[in-house]
């Protein structure tokens, strides 16, 4: 007798749960209506992420190492001071081999003081001992198979339909897994918001028809930006990949970066 009574009350509880579940859609609609009126995103209207495919390419032979891009990026995106960069410039100095060493090259020195955003100090190697020296701008490589997105436990890191790899700052739990998974060091944990951050391709600019800050500011046209779905006949992006032999960074990891580099050396990684 007693068990039956218990069973009945349990069934009643189960029924209440089901009724609650049925009432949910109504509640959600109400919630959505409230959100519609109270929360305005202020985002540009009429932008369809499925109608674009953005891409930045880099012509490393053009980079003069002024660091304006890294500086502009911090300003444009409010990136905190310190070792936090969405884009940066590396300087490579490859020395001549020691006489009689039968090697083709000497040492490779790389630096990026403060991300290169204030330019570079004097070359630490005398000019006559340098075999090769050049600058390489770095940014998110916009991987086709981004490992950072793959490891995000909650779906805060994602690849938008327009090709940008983004982070939802209101959804990121700040676990740091994506920072560890990015082979290019393009991500960091923002010490103020405690969420992961990275290059957004200046998403707030490109959705308004502006160029990303680093592309806008680069005086040497080392960064080429365009929309693969709306290429003009003389589009710089198309000209770039038609006239240059390109390569990507760390291709053996299978991330298939979409950012193409022209004029890289084997030492760059």
């Amino acid at each position: 007798m007693k068990t039956q009574f218990n069973r009945r009350s349990a069934l009643a509880r189960l029924g209440a749960t089901i009724a609650g579940a049925l009432a949910l859609p109504v509640a959600r609609k109400a919630k959505a209506a409230v959100q519609y009126f109270l929360v305005s995103s202020g985002a540009p209207k009429g932008y369809d992420p499925k109608d674009h495919k953005w891409l930045i390419c880099v012509d490393a032979t053009k980079c003069i190492g002024c660091g304006l891009c890294a500086e502009a990026c911090k300003k444009e995106n409010g990136v905190p001071e310190g070792p936090y960069f969405r884009t940066w410039i590396e300087r490579y100095i490859i020395t001549k081999p020691k006489p009689g060493s039968e090697e083709t090259r000497g040492e490779t020195l790389v630096d990026s003081p403060d991300g290169g955003m204030h330019g570079f100090p004097e070359c630490p190697v005398p000019k006559d001992q340098i075999e090769q020296s050049f600058f390489v701008p770095k940014l998110c490589n916009l991987c086709e198979h981004p490992p950072c997105v793959q490891v995000c436990p909650v779906g805060a890191a994602f690849k938008a339909p327009d090709g940008a790899v983004l982070i939802d700052p209101d959804y990121c739990i700040g676990c740091g897994f994506c920072v560890q998974a990015c082979p290019y060091g393009a991500r960091f944990l923002n010490p103020i918001t405690h969420t992961a951050e990275k290059c957004t391709l200046c998403y707030h600019r490109i959705t308004r028809g502006l160029k990303p800050a680093c592309v806008e500011i680069c005086p040497a046209e080392a960064r080429i930006f365009g929309d693969l779905k709306h290429l003009a006949p003389d589009d710089p992006l198309q000209q770039f990949y038609e006239t240059h032999r390109t390569q990507v960074l760390k291709p053996y990891l299978g991330t298939e970066p979409r950012v193409l580099y022209a004029g890289l050396d084997e030492e760059v990684r």
Binding site: W88, P121, P147, P153, G176, V179, Q180, L253, G254
Partner: protein, 414 residues
């Protein structure tokens, strides 16, 4: 002007040699001491559980006295396992998202479900079926808070008829069998969190989950040995030498397998000497010398191997007191060694740049949310919980209810 600025920049981070990506030049590591504690605790859970399964599944009679004890140990540590992860998050208040919208390609997201499965469907259930008879009896004899707790835990089922008790035993066995792969899964997944990061040559390694499981087994058994000896000392009871010797035997075998596979991993790395090997060598020589060569290899593996190995050969000739001390110190050393191994894995992977051109040094705070103190607290907390669990469920004052194999043993022991 520019040179002044860059000088200032280099002064901020003098702890880096070679080139590291600008984003890697942070003072603190992305994954702090807490992420060292996390796989350590999870490993202890898996190991302690497998130790208990030796009784249920493999019918190792000598270990019966520690069956419940090792299950409770596993529970105490499992309850603490997600805490270090949670404390480490930038936004702990958003942690529910892992369960609400789990991104199934992420090892970390799946861990949430593996954890829930292991805790609720395996460990708690197995304990419940094993304790059900006792809980019903205790809920009648005990009063006050304990009485209420036992009554709650019976979930209102008071049936102690013969078929019901038989069913409990059968369910316990089934859960034990399900539990072994689950324990492997639990800790294998922790290994996979690191092993899946292909960007990092120190972590991205298919052997990682296996190494984690094997080291988990030796550390979990070592924990049971350690706790068992401490508990008999605290309760001033006679030690069951047959049980202790058997635990030491399994500890030795776990250690041998673990050491062999880890050595295989090392050999492979050294022989293949892939792209990142040079920078890894620098790191091992300079940054990880004490934790790797001394902590992991010497203290954690070689010394206990010699101690336990000699006991396997000369058990009869070693007097009991010496044997106890040898086993106790081996267990303690293995516990330290496995902690060092977790440190080497977690910190090692963050000591070199992914540009493979430089190594970094990190700062570790003493206090603060991710400091040493917090890590230490999270290491001690499971022992406190275990002490409470022992008071509630392995107390000497509780009447032993049934002359069955497990509960009788439990009552006879510590």
């Amino acid at each position: 002007m520019t040179s002044q600025l860059t000088n200032a920049a280099t002064e901020v981070m003098p702890a880096f040699t070679g080139y590291v990506y600008p984003n890697e030049a942070t003072a603190h590591p992305i994954w702090s001491v807490l992420i060292v504690v996390y796989p350590y605790i999870t490993g202890l859970v898996a190991g302690a559980f497998i130790m208990a399964s030796l009784v249920r599944v493999f019918r190792v009679k000598a270990l019966e006295p520690v069956y419940r004890f090792s299950l409770l140990t596993a529970l105490a540590f499992l309850l603490c396992a997600p805490l270090p992860l949670l404390c480490h998050l930038g936004h702990p208040e958003r942690c529910f998202e892992i369960l609400m919208t789990p991104h199934l390609t992420s090892p970390m997201a799946v861990f949430g479900f593996v954890y829930a499965w292991y805790l609720m469907a395996v460990l708690l259930l197995e304990l419940w079926f094993d304790y059900r008879h006792d809980l019903v009896v205790w809920s009648k004899t005990e009063s006050g808070f304990k009485g209420i707790l036992y009554r709650l835990l019976t979930v209102g089922v008071t049936d102690l008829s013969e078929p019901a008790v038989k069913l409990d035993a059968r369910m316990g066995k089934i859960l034990s069998i399900v539990g072994i792969p689950s324990a492997f899964l639990l800790h294998g997944y922790v290994g996979f969190i690191f092993g899946s990061i292909k960007a990092n040559p120190w972590w991205g390694n298919p052997l990682m989950p296996i190494i984690f499981i094997l080291s988990a087994m030796s550390s979990g058994i070592a924990l049971c040995v350690f706790n068992y000896q401490v508990l008999t000392w605290v309760r001033r009871r006679e030690m069951n030498m047959r049980c202790l010797d058997t635990m030491a035997m399994f500890l030795f075998y776990a250690l041998v397998v673990d050491a062999a596979v880890e050595a295989l991993d090392w050999l492979h790395r050294a022989f293949a000497a892939e792209e990142g090997f040079q920078v890894l060598q620098v790191m091992i020589r300079e940054k990880l010398f004490y934790t790797l060569s001394v902590g992991q290899a010497l203290v954690g593996t070689l010394l206990p191997f010699l101690l336990l190995g000699s006991l396997q050969l000369l058990r009869r000739r070693v007097p009991e007191v010496v044997r106890r001390r040898m086993i106790f110190s081996s267990a303690a050393m293995i516990l330290v060694g496995v902690l060092a191994m977790r440190w080497n894995v977690v910190m090692g992977g963050q000591l070199f740049s992914k540009s493979l051109r430089g190594v970094m040094s990190h700062k570790f705070d003493f206090t603060g949310g991710e400091g040493w103190l917090m890590g230490l607290f999270l290491l001690i907390l499971p022992f406190i919980i275990l002490a409470m669990l022992l008071r509630l469920f392995l107390s000497e004052r509780l009447p032993s209810s049934e002359p069955g194999p497990h509960s009788a043993a439990a009552a006879s022991l510590p």
